[in-house]
Symmetry: C2
Subunit: 372 residues, 2 copies
């Protein structure tokens, strides 16, 4: 069959209309095709003015004269800067991205707490503006003003701004604000409890995500990120955090670091430590995204981790930007790997849509309020 | 069919005789059944006197009066202490274990370099004695006297003792002698080059294995170990270490940490960084063991990593000691997972035997010299 591009576009438009429309056929199509929510996206195509602001802010730590003026970026510049994200959404047929400031850009280790506070305010505000400008593509997720050696109580004000003023359904939580030296307490320490109390009251989860590493031992995206994911999981496994906060929810990105690959080890370690089985111990509270950039990894993830604990994500445009010569597709086009699984319709919808809606309570966001 | 224990034992003995014997049938059986070399075992059932020696050594750091007398352990005590290892070898039908001091016991972070030097000498000597007492079960692997902030040149003397005096074919190399704070240079720094030069001259590989973590962020066996494996791999990926030392060989334990699960990420990162493909960049030099404690993990490992780079290992009696209720077998009985794979006879032999013989140059060991 030879289908011209024009016919294909007409067909696609008709299909789109059917999905959006109210006919019985449309209703049935709506039931079978899940919304595709990418729960892990960062603003990695920031305008130059935004990066220049940060550079000046850092320079001002040594030379106060370099303190940046208030950030001025036009709506047009913002819209243009996120267009590559939107183009990828369209090309990959994903619908909406939970969108937070660039993870490697948080750099909580730089400067005193005031530096992180200012940088987080500016970063979250810009994310909010992007989400207002492109409300059909992005739902905001916030950055916290963590700072080495500073009690995370200092993050509560920004958490509240993110949730109450901006309507963000989640925040990113850095398990190592020291940038690869791991000198602050673990995530399960009471150090973090005031923050968790407020998160539970606001009913928002955290994605556990480190920032850049300044430790020469840890390259960022291939070492520090995955090591941190693995480390955070083991902190949870060995603690009573979720006994203390039964409603606290943590999303571990990058497919959970090493965890699913070593699921037998973790089951065995919990058993040796006389901890409850993992499903009771933490699977009501801990979730894994699908940022695993090859089919065998996604196969394993979905085989060993209960489907209710897996949230679709790509982290595009992120750690890996190339095309896999063995497939001809982008490494981070993770939707293809999920599409290739033999999941039931219900399970597929869980991974793409309903797990994220549940974990992030997305129905309260403007995006879902508009959709009804 | 009802087989009595006695008949079963008789049958097993006959089978054993056939494998060991010289009949044509035995020769054919010998050809099809590979030797099973477990490349990752630690002396985790040490006699009390050995542990007491270490306690006294540590106590003497504060109170020199507690300095321990020379260690005295009888051959009988040593033989008895390793019997559980041998029993497991027999029960699991593995043949010989590359056997090194307890990884978590190295604790290079304790005391000055002299403390590590003494502790490594004593530990390696005891491993050597075990190997002399039970030469059909163990081939020794050495511990190095690494010490935070001390150039690894200080390890060359003990390396030479291990290889030349004890006939050990390998050593363990700790990528973080600071015990979880990662304050020393990465494995790819010139800091390590004099050690590597000598390793290459002696033609011995290293297993990259951290010791105990004193950083409360990192639990040992579920976080620090896997994070270190992942970190070391990424150090190799981003460096020219194997250009500088084409004959240097590194075994990454615990199935390579997070690496095989994220093989797509690593292929993509190398590509984005304009590095050569991984097989050219490091697969002549980097190998992964099979200490992955569930079937899906082993399935993935053997699917994505070339078979020539996979070495059988269990790390029994080690990190995970229980029985998996979902299988009824020990989590760390990794031979079962390999047995369950549909590998060709040749590939099975590679994983169980020939890869280890090649990477560790085992044919020069007394064990293989005796076997011919």
């Amino acid at each position: 069959m030879n289908v011209s591009r024009r016919d294909w576009l007409k067909g696609a438009a008709a299909l789109g209309a059917a999905w959006a429309g109210g006919s019985p056929l449309a209703a049935s199509a709506q039931q079978t095709k899940p919304l595709v929510i990418d729960c892990h996206g960062h603003y990695t195509t920031e305008p130059k003015a935004f990066l220049a602001y940060r550079q000046a802010q850092i320079a001002a730590l040594r030379d106060p004269a370099q303190k940046p003026a208030a950030l001025k970026i036009s709506d047009d510049e913002l819209a243009e800067s996120v267009q590559p994200q939107i183009d990828f959404q369209r090309a990959r047929r994903t619908d909406v991205t939970l969108f937070s400031p660039r993870a490697a850009g948080m750099r909580h280790h730089i400067g005193p707490a005031e530096t992180s506070a200012d940088w987080s305010r500016v970063s979250n505000e810009i994310i909010h503006r992007v989400c207002m400008l492109r409300p059909d593509n992005f739902i905001g997720v916030g950055q916290l003003p963590q700072s080495p050696g500073v009690r995370p109580d200092n993050c509560i004000e920004e958490l509240e701004r993110c949730v109450k003023s901006y309507g963000f359904p989640a925040i990113n939580l850095n398990p190592d604000p020291t940038g690869g030296f791991w000198r602050d307490p673990p995530l399960t320490d009471r150090w973090y409890y005031p923050l968790y109390e407020r998160m539970v009251e606001l009913d928002v989860p955290a994605m556990v995500h480190v920032s850049a590493s300044i430790n020469p031992n840890f390259q960022g995206t291939g070492a520090h990120y995955l090591a941190a994911d693995t480390t955070a999981f083991m902190q949870f496994l060995t603690s009573d955090l979720f006994k203390d906060f039964p409603a606290l929810r943590m999303v571990i990105p990058h497919g959970g670091g090493a965890v699913p690959y070593h699921w037998g080890r973790y089951r065995g370690l919990a058993q040796d430590m006389n901890r409850p089985p993992l499903d009771q111990l933490l699977l009501h509270n801990v979730f894994f995204d699908t940022c695993v950039y090859h089919q065998p990894g996604i196969d394993l993830l979905t085989k060993v981790i209960p489907i209710d604990n897996i949230l679709f994500a790509s982290e595009m445009i992120g750690a890996v930007r190339g095309i896999d010569p063995s497939t001809g597709h982008y490494y981070d086009d993770t939707k293809r790997y999920i599409d290739a699984l033999s999941l039931s319709t219900d399970d597929r919808r869980k991974v793409f849509e309903t797990n994220a809606r549940r974990v992030y309570r997305l129905d309260r966001t403007d995006y879902f309020k508009r959709r009804g």
